[in-house]
């Protein structure tokens, strides 16, 4: 088991944003984490990445309990993430931005630069290597997020809505990139709310609703699940429960 989260609870005041959520992941898997807006998937994601500490529950990564571990220590263990809204390092060029990630495993500047160049090539950013990161548009920034996370040489990469805000042509390029990342042997958790992307990308999906895991299975299975349909489309004809 590469990553295992059990009984994760995270509350904000009265709101139980994540309520007894769980997740188990084998190495080399590519899974989707979906749910309507406000389902708690981002909070759960932040608990996995270390940007939020769960109130209850435990998270194990590569046989280490990482529940209270800060993000930079998780990165060192091989757990990387991207952000839903890309965070640009102002003043840095694209290459320098990726070098920040590369410095995690390479203390020498030349080695970090070589690693960064490799990741720029892989993500198709080589032509923009020397421009300021802030001058990139949304698709470029999203790719840069992925490039610098990959430069930390992760075992597991958590992608928070890496495809949101892209046009359909850009989504095709991005899906291809995610597949190639997976082919490199990197385990992926992809948070999305676009069902279609999940359908094409993953073998296994976990569906969140109101902070709970309400379904799990292949994309075809979960989209046929009445609970999932209800979560996405609202109640239809089940008045006797309400």
């Amino acid at each position: 088991m590469l990553l295992e989260a059990q009984g994760i609870v995270k509350t904000f005041g009265q709101l139980r944003a994540v309520d007894q959520a769980r997740l188990a992941l084998e190495q080399y898997e590519l899974i989707g984490l979906i749910g309507p807006n406000g389902a708690g998937k981002s909070t759960f994601f932040n608990c996995l990445a270390g940007n939020a500490t769960p109130d209850e529950g435990r998270i194990r990564f590569r046989d280490t309990d990482i529940t209270g571990l800060p993000p930079h220590d998780r990165a060192r263990l091989g757990l990387a993430r991207t952000f839903q809204v890309p965070i640009v390092f102002e003043g840095m060029t694209v290459r320098e931005t990726v070098m920040v990630g590369a410095f995690l495993r390479h203390s020498h500047r030349a080695a970090a630069a070589a690693k960064a160049d490799e990741m720029l090539e892989f993500t198709g950013l080589t032509a923009q290597a020397n421009v300021k990161a802030a001058s990139l548009g949304t698709p470029g920034r999203k790719r840069l997020e992925i490039a610098r996370a990959l430069a930390t040489e992760p075992t597991l990469l958590l992608l928070d809505e890496a495809l949101a805000g892209l046009t359909s042509a850009e989504v095709e390029v991005a899906i291809d990139l995610l597949r190639r990342i997976h082919q490199r042997g990197i385990t992926l958790i992809v948070v999305e709310h676009i069902m279609e992307v999940i359908h094409r990308l993953t073998q296994r999906v976990i569906v969140f609703h109101q902070g709970r895991v309400i379904a799990e299975g292949t994309p075809a299975e979960v989209t046929a699940d009445p609970d999932v349909i209800e979560a996405y489309l609202g109640r239809r004809g089940h008045r006797r429960h309400g």
Binding site: A49, G50, N51, P70, P71, H72, A75, R76, A80, R81, F83, I87, V88, F89, E90, G91, M92, E96, T97, M99, V100, G101, F103, L104, S107, R109, A112, R148, A149, A151, T152
Partner: protein, 321 residues
């Protein structure tokens, strides 16, 4: 290796700096030149935490004052040459950095700046009311040289040479830092702490490294100031204007660039000295009116300082070529 045109130009400025005051032979200019380099040391030291790491401290006078008082206390209490207090000041600055850094690094942006102002203001009040360190009156250095170690010279040139040496060491440290992992980590955490942490940057540890380096050299600048001027009081050691000077010089020249603070000092220190000379005692503080105008112009037209303008200029020229 690629050498940016900016660093070549800056190296030329540095060389000019080294030679010009000797060439003029005018003691007034030599005195100003020494003050320029001294100001450049503290502004460049501030730049490590305030520029590269983006943690805008408005309380660096606390280090400057510590260094200044360390030298003159060493003379006053122990009868040793004032410069012997410089290492003590540096040691004290390390303690201060840990004491200030650990709690205040939880704060971000303006809150960090406000906390640093509070610390410096508190230090000033404490020193003003503490008789042992001279209270409101302050401390004097040796009146006449007992040995060469007292570093009392009639001409400003020997001071100028010492200051230039210290500045060169500081800029070399900063350059090495800027090229390596630490520089990248500081710049990254300065513009996005969460993103930096997600890439494996231990944010608070690196902020502390930056503050330790920054504080040590600011303290050293304070010690050198006390040796040079031979007098220190709470206002000239811990006053808010001491902190503001470092910020404004760095911002004018370009915070987070190697030579920005030096360029800022080259412009602002003569400005202050010249206005003082023009207006005499009644005009003290006129320079701060000019400072205010400078701050407004930077904020409006070039938040990256003159270094940004230079980059823009170099970029246009490259495009034209």
């Amino acid at each position: 290796m690629r050498i940016a045109p900016g660093s070549l130009a800056a190296a030329a400025i540095l060389l000019l700096l080294a030679v010009a005051p000797v060439a003029t032979g005018n003691p007034f200019y030599q005195h100003i030149a020494a003050l320029v380099v001294l100001a450049a040391i503290s502004a460049s030291a501030w730049n490590v935490i305030g520029g590269y790491a983006g943690q805008v401290s408005f309380g660096h006078a606390v280090y400057f004052g510590t260094g200044a008082y360390a030298s003159l206390l060493t003379f006053d209490k122990l009868g040793l040459p004032p410069i012997a207090g410089a290492p003590l000041g540096v040691l004290a600055s390390f303690v201060l950095s840990v004491v200030i850094g650990l709690p205040s690094f939880r704060l971000r942006g303006h809150y960090f700046s406000m906390a640093t102002i509070a610390v410096a203001a508190l230090a000033q009040v404490l020193v003003t009311n503490w008789g042992f360190v001279g209270g409101a009156i302050g401390l004097m250095g040796p009146a006449s040289p007992r040995s060469i170690a007292d570093l009392l010279f009639r001409s400003a040139l020997p001071y100028y040479a010492i200051f230039l040496g210290v500045l060169a060491v500081l800029l070399a440290c900063t350059w090495l830092m800027q090229r390596g992992r630490t520089g990248f980590y500081l710049r990254a955490l300065g513009s996005g702490e969460q993103a930096a942490a997600s890439l494996g940057v231990p944010v608070r540890r690196y902020k502390l490294y930056a503050l330790l380096l920054s504080g040590a050299f600011t303290s050293l600048a304070g010690s050198l100031y006390a040796v040079f001027v031979g007098f220190i009081d709470p206002d000239s050691g811990f006053g808010i204007l001491i902190s503001v000077n470092m910020v404004v010089m760095s911002a004018l020249g370009g915070a987070g660039t190697l030579f920005g603070p030096l360029v800022g000092a080259i412009i602002l220190v003569p400005l202050e000295e010249i206005t003082n000379a023009w207006f005499g005692g009644s005009g003290t503080g006129t320079a701060y009116v000019a400072y205010g105008i400078v701050i407004m112009i930077i904020a409006r037209f070039a938040p990256g300082g003159l270094a940004q303008l230079w980059q823009l200029f170099a970029w246009r020229r490259r495009r034209a070529a």
